[in-house]
Every structure is written in C-alpha cells, then in structure tokens.
C-alpha cells in the first residue's frame, strides 16, 4: 500500500533522513521504533509533505506522491495524527472532529465514532484544548477516522498518557485494524507497540536499520535493547 524508497529530507541546512526504505501492506499495523531524534516523526511528516525539502520516492497505492502538496496527499487517502495532537484551541470538539475533509467514502460515521469514543459526545461543545490529554488524543484519532482515508499515520499516540488511557488507545488501534484500516505508528514505547503491531521497523540516524516481525519480538529483545538503548 505504501512504499518508501531512498527518502531523504531536510529542514533548512539539516539533513534529517538519509535514505529511508520501508513498506506497509494493506491492513497492517506497522511501527517505526527508534530513539528520540532518529527521524521517525520526520519520516511521517515527509509522507504527508510537511517538510520543506525531500527526495526519493513515496508511492501510495502505486501513485508517486513526492511532488504533491499536503492537501493533495491527504486526498489520495492518507490521514495524519501529529505528535502534538494538533487540537485547535479556537474550535470546539465537534468543529475539531469535522475539520478534516472527507477524502473517500467508507469513513466511520459519527454514531460509530461516538461508540468508540463516548467521552467525545459528552464534550461536543467544549473548547478543543479544554479536554484532558487522553481525550485530546482520542479526538485527534477520531477525526481522521471520519475522512475515509485508509492509511493512518499516528505519531506517538501514547506519549505522556496514563496507562489506562494507553490501553484504551491500544484497543482502539486493534479495533480500527479490524475495520480494515492500515496504520503506520511511531512509537518509543515498544512494549505498547508489541500489543498492536504486525511488524516493526527500527529507525536510527535517519535510516531504517532493521525490520522485526512482531512474532520475533521476544527473540529479538537483546538486539532491540541495543538499538533503543533502554
């Protein structure tokens, strides 16, 4: 579904990605693991067209997206949930939820979204940033399920959240996988990643240095500890 080849990205003079290669198959949950500053978030932003300069190849459903603007990339069916969640302070919960454009049929409808995230219905008219961190993360995920995009990029959805919320997000990711969504997940917490993902790519110094199927995660613990320095 997504093929990234030789992806290089720059922020101004800083060369962040040095040839990233990986694939995501339809229906998979794939994580990018790696230390802070390894280039995981930059990889996601590059896929979305949100970095100033990039080279290489990013093919989505066979279509090269490198020359497209972010809004055009979104309309090919890729949706992005940023690390900082990107909840808009001047919009209420409903407005935040309805903001992303519908890009294809087959997105979740509002009743389904409210079943998955009951809190959001209660807080519909609250200002977006008045929600708790967990609720904001739920909102950030919920609003991209509506759009009909089938590839979801989730950047560290569990960061800074209480364990019970992390579990809820894990359940949500497994649920949306069952509904046929494909997920690319950036994580630092590989224990969490192990509960949701099919495969893991390890990113270091702007390159993908290893791929570990989830089934082999236990066996690869020693290697993984070395990569992540935990």
């Amino acid at each position: 579904m997504l093929e990234v080849r030789g992806l290089n990205s720059w922020y101004g003079e800083s060369h962040i990605l040095h040839g990233v290669d990986f694939d995501v198959q339809e229906g998979e949950v794939v994580t990018l693991l790696g230390r802070n500053g390894a280039g995981k978030t930059t990889t996601m932003k590059s896929i979305m067209g949100l970095v100033p300069r990039r080279q290489g190849s990013i093919r989505f459903k066979g279509q090269e997206t490198l020359s497209l603007r972010p809004d055009e990339i979104a309309r090919t069916g890729i949706a992005f949930c940023p690390e900082e969640r990107g909840i808009f302070a001047s919009l209420n919960v409903t407005e935040n939820l309805m903001l992303p454009r519908t890009v294809a049929p087959g997105g979740l409808d509002l009743p389904t979204i409210y079943t998955l995230f009951p809190n959001l219905k209660e807080r519909a008219s609250s200002q977006g940033t008045k929600l708790s961190g967990g609720e904001q993360q739920m909102l950030a995920i919920a609003r991209i399920l509506r759009t009909g995009a089938k590839l979801l990029l989730l950047d560290e959805p569990t960061e800074g959240l209480a364990p019970v919320i992390v579990q809820q997000i894990g359940r949500t990711i497994r649920e949306i996988k069952q509904r046929g969504f494909t997920v690319l997940l950036v994580e630092q917490n590989f224990r969490f990643a192990a509960t949701v993902a099919d495969r893991h790519y390890v990113v270091e110094h702007g390159r993908v240095i290893d791929m570990i199927p989830n089934a082999q995660l236990e066996a690869s613990m020693g290697k993984l500890h070395g990569y992540l320095g935990v």
């Binding site: 979305m48 809004d71 309309r75 992005f80 990107g86 001047s90 919009l91 903001l99 454009r101 759009t147």
Partner: protein
C-alpha cells in the same frame, strides 16, 4: 433648550451620530484587517487604498456605465475582491517565507501606487456621489433629525459586521479559517487547499473595505485621500482591539467612533488625538489589546 451635562442635546446627539458613522467605518475596515492579519500574518497597509478604490469603483460604475448605488454595493466589493485575488496570487504570496515587514512594505507601496494613480487621473479635490433616492431626506426621531442615509450606513455596517462574525464563528468554513490561523500546515494535511483559502481570505478582507468605501462615497466625497485619512485611526483601532481579534475589531471600532464623537462635544481640541490616547493607555495596561490573547 434640552441639555445633557450642560451641553445642548442636539449637539450631543449629532456628534454621537457622527461618531457612530465613523465607528461603522472603523469597524468594517479593522474587521477586514483583523481577518487578513490572522490568516496571512500581514498588516495590510493597502487597506485604506482599497477602501478608496471601492468608492471609486462605485463612482465609475455610475459615471461610465450608469450602474447605481444598490448594484454597486455588491459589484464594487466583488471587483475589488478580484483585484485582491490577483494581488495575493501575483505579489503577496511570494513574501510568506520572509519577515512580516516585507508584507507591510509591499502593501504600503501598493497603497501609494493606487492612491497616486487615482490622484493623477481624478485630482485630489474629490467628486460627489449622490445619495440614492430611497435614502434621501431625514427622519424626525423626536430628539433629533436623523438623515436617512447616515442611519442606513450604521445599520448596513452593523449587519455586515454581524454576518462576518457569524460566518467566522459559526460555520464550517469559519472553523477551517480559525484552524488555519492557528496551524495552517496541519489544516493543509487534513486535505484543505490552504493556499486557496489564503487567497480567498485576502479577497474577502479587501471586499469588506470596498463595501465600506461604497457606503462612504455619498458621505465623504469620492477622493484619493479618503482611505489615507481613515487608515491610521483604523490601525490604532486594530491595536486597541487586539491584533487578529474579530469581535475585538467590531466592538472597538464602534466604541472608539463614539468616544471620538463625544470628545468633539466635551473637548473638541482632543478629538483628533483621543483614540491614540486610548491606545497608549490600553497598551500600557494590556499589551495584547482589549480582546487579544497574550502571545
């Protein structure tokens, strides 16, 4: 004679009305500036010139094409809006990656060119624009005579401010606009064509200025300086209301018009400076403006 605080009532109400009229123009102009500043991060110095252009287009439509006031009220903002689209796409667009000051310099230069061309063609004495037949005459309100056209100007400006506020605060287009003001790249990653949104925002802001220009045409004669006279005060209004605040510009616009009008009654010498006095006081107490959020 009926007196208020020792001043004759007709004088008081007359100045209050004048204040409201000026306030209506301050509100419409600062509203457009606020919308443009919020979205483009540019202080649109051409705003006064585009207000003037609105009045000139209305005058030209009547003079050359025989198109009257009511049609001009819609057509002039549309024409100036198209001019705004071209300005944004051809000129302003190239400055977003640079310091804000360049946008200010560009629009300031644009204002000088537009005003210079108008002065060159039509001189600076100004041309009269007749009040439309339906709004001639005055109404006796009991305590004063209200010229119908002036009442209409206050009403039309207030309704237009209300419509703009409703569109921005209560519609999905407005929600997209507010979101893009906060974080444009993310809104674009949500599938919104942000460059087009920016163009349309600029066009909408300058169309508001042109609308104000048409309203102003019968009151102040149509002349190349009419925008320059207003724009300095309007910048003070924007600063007092809080840069980029929609509600702030409307309330502050009308409020300062009234304060200015009343000053003409109580201490006429200060009427030209009172707004700047208010600005100094507000900035000392609340540097982000009355309705602005501290950065």
């Amino acid at each position: 004679m009926f007196m208020i605080l020792g001043y004759p009532a007709p004088l008081m109400f007359g100045q209050l009305l004048l204040g409201l009229i000026n306030g209506a123009f301050y509100a419409l102009l600062s509203l457009g500036l606020a919308v443009i500043f919020g979205m483009l991060n540019i202080v649109n110095f051409a705003h006064g010139a585009l207000f003037m252009l609105g009045a000139f287009v209305a005058w030209g439509l009547l003079e050359y094409l025989g198109i009257g006031y009511w049609v001009a009220l819609f057509l002039a903002p549309l024409i100036v809006g198209v001019f705004g689209v071209l300005t944004e796409k051809l000129l302003i667009r190239h400055l977003y990656k640079l310091d804000h000051l360049y946008g200010l310099l560009l629009t300031f230069g644009l204002a000088l060119i537009i005003e210079g061309l108008a002065r060159n063609q039509y001189g600076s004495s100004g041309m009269p624009y007749r009040i439309p037949a339906a709004l001639q005459g005055a109404t006796d309100l009991g305590f004063m005579f209200l010229p119908n056209y002036r009442g209409w100007v206050v009403l039309a400006a207030a309704v237009m401010c209300l419509i703009t506020w409703l569109v921005i605060e209560k519609t999905s287009v407005g929600a997209t606009l507010r979101a893009a003001t906060e974080n444009a790249p993310l809104v674009q990653a949500f599938g919104v064509n942000v460059p087009r949104l920016i163009t349309l925002t600029y066009a909408g802001g300058v169309a508001l200025a042109a609308f104000a220009g048409v309203l102003a045409a019968p009151i102040y004669s149509v002349n190349p300086n009419m925008g320059a006279n207003f724009i300095i005060v309007v910048f003070a209004v924007v600063v007092i209301g809080g840069m980029g605040s929609i509600l702030g510009s409307i309330v502050t616009g009308f409020g300062l018009g009234i304060i200015e009008g009343l000053t003409k009654v109580f201490y006429p010498q200060a009427s030209a400076t009172v707004i700047f006095l208010v600005m100094v006081i507000v900035l000392l107490a609340r540097p982000a403006g009355l309705f602005g959020k501290a950065a």
